[in-house]
Assembly symmetry: C2
Homo-oligomer: 124 residues x 2
């Protein structure tokens, strides 16, 4: 069902809070990341910037426990329903990476509240 070749090696992976339905983040998975996610029931992505597997929470401890995995009609995207440990998926400390919303003008305003201080978690 999933077609990594067609997707250039990487499928899109959307993480959604299993309880609240909040969309938390989007990242990428190669086949190895997908298989490890299925096996470990924790979200594992492929970091394009670091060019390696990214076990979500490996640094922060904020892992994502995977409750279900769905695949889309094209076979080039997956939807993970997760329990987000630590309450925040975003490295900037917000529950969701989508914490800025377009206003009526052409500007984005912050709509989320910080769950943690990134400096305290990542030390930078």
């Amino acid at each position: 069902m999933l077609n990594f070749d067609k997707a250039g090696g990487l499928v899109a992976a959307i993480a959604q809070d299993a309880d609240t339905g909040q969309v938390l983040m989007i990242a990428w998975m190669n086949e190895e990341a997908f298989r490890e996610t299925v096996r470990s029931k924790r979200a594992v992505y492929f970091s394009r910037s670091r060019n390696r597997l990214w076990r979500k929470g490996e640094e922060s401890g904020h892992v994502q426990e995977v409750r279900s995995i769905a695949v889309d009609c094209d076979g080039d995207a997956v939807l993970l329903k997760v329990k987000q440990i630590g309450g925040a998926a975003c490295h900037e400390g917000y529950a969701s990476c989508f914490f800025r919303e377009l206003t009526d003008g052409d500007l984005f305003r912050v709509v989320g509240e910080r769950v943690f201080d990134p400096k305290a978690v990542y030390g930078k």
Copy 2:
């Protein structure tokens, strides 16, 4: 906030049902698609297969009325909260394109129900 250049010209666009929270689909937007989406308050994507703007619903009439637009921390993805006219985002007739879910084995099973018959809508 959105960085089309960094994203290779296309940002990922996730459509989520504004009322139910169901994730409906993922597609792509170039800057023109994004600007038309903002202006028209209807979802406009960029079709990579057809290499042109794709006004969602242009063929089926199943447009997406956009209620809000959020951008992620990296500036390479947007989250649209939409009202899906016609009840189905997927061209296969399901409410969501993510209508197959991984089972305990290595198989996906259909978890959604068809809202419409694709042949009746698209005539093919």
